[in-house]
Amino acid sequence: MKPINEVGRVVVELPANTTFYSSPMYLAIAFEAASERPEPLLLTRGSTKSLGYQAAYELIGYTLCGDRAQRAVDESLVVDGKPITPEAYLGLWRMAINESCTPGGLLRLHGIRLIAQITGPAERIPRCRSPWTTAPFQSLAESKYARNLPISDGQFALRIDLCERDAARDAFYISEMVTVACRDEDPCSAAILLEGAAAIPTTADLFAPAPSLVEA
């Protein structure tokens, strides 16, 4: 089987007030070589009912050590076409965390918009109440997102652009409210979607001449 060829990575930092943990949370995006252009892939722990925000230790210790760093051992994952040790691979992601950007920065620099999409049965909306006292609003109905909430075939589908102010926080608490309101068999979900054409992160060539010098 062809190895995964990771050609870039970027980590998005979400503000400290995003969850009740009062510490920064992160979203990690890997870029994998594909036929036409690199494919961005959000790295999560696989839950369909959680937005997948991760603390730095969760990203390194669980998400990466639990999957991609192991693949580096048998070269079923390579970086820029070359084998890499799992230690060096984790080092690349540590650098990405240190150089993290905001959702706005991700859009500006890499052309990717982060959208939190939360869905659930419309009949559960009145029961969507926050289990956390730190929530900025105590129910979905009280929030600005309840206005003009798209509903189709009995399902609501809320989309929140993480570039908006406090969007990451609001999306987190709403996904928690929906989880509390829904029964196990209810079709509800929460996910971060990557929208837009991605430009993979590249490092500038330090020795490339400046355009003005070339023209001269």
């Binding site: 230790y57 210790g61 760093a69 799992p86 230690e87 984790l90």
Partner: protein, 176 residues
């Protein structure tokens, strides 16, 4: 919240039959929880377990997985904070140094959840099995003799979902 301490490491090697270059490893680790103490001595409880097993690639993948626990403080080799990278390097050194273990041995001890695919595979090989119960969970003990050690590694090759401690045990290693 509790964390695991690891105190000692030992690596046993095993050459697969008819394949002198196919070296397999059994990694024993002495470890225990930070909040469990022996009532008489007051010392932290610790015991030796087979934590990783297989080819160098299989062992290192297991090391990456377990080393991840260092990042959140859930695993502290020698009682000190560490990183997954340092844990992986420690296991890598263990594999490359191949220091002979002065005291102790490892042996097959295959116990898997009842209904695991290995049970049928073992029966197809003519191995005896017997049921075992532990903390209300049903397991199947697959009887593998000391002269059939290669089967432990063949089981790991075929069923990589199994943990090393489900396949082998160590004995006679010195207590810290």
């Amino acid at each position: 919240m509790s964390y695991r301490l690891e105190y000692q490491y030992a690596a046993f090697t095993h050459v697969m039959p008819n394949a002198p270059h196919d070296l397999r490893y059994v990694i024993g680790v002495e470890g225990g929880d930070n909040n469990l103490y022996e009532s008489r001595s007051g010392k932290r409880v610790r015991s030796w377990t087979v934590c990783m097993l297989g080819t160098p690639t299989q062992v290192l993948k297991q090391a990456v997985y377990f080393g991840g626990a260092c990042e959140g403080g859930g695993l502290k080799p020698f009682g000190r904070d560490g990183t997954p990278e340092s844990y992986i390097r420690r296991i890598r050194r263990l594999l490359s140094e191949q220091t002979p273990v002065a005291q102790g041995c490892w042996y097959p001890a295959v116990v898997v959840p009842k209904g695991h695919a290995l049970v049928d595979a073992a029966k197809a090989l003519g191995l005896e099995t017997s049921p075992e119960g532990l903390y209300g969970v049903e397991y199947e003990h697959i009887h593998v003799g000391p002269d059939q050690r290669r089967l432990v590694f063949e089981f790991m090759d075929r069923f990589p979902d199994l943990n090393a401690w489900s396949l082998a045990k160590v004995s006679g290693l010195p207590k810290s």
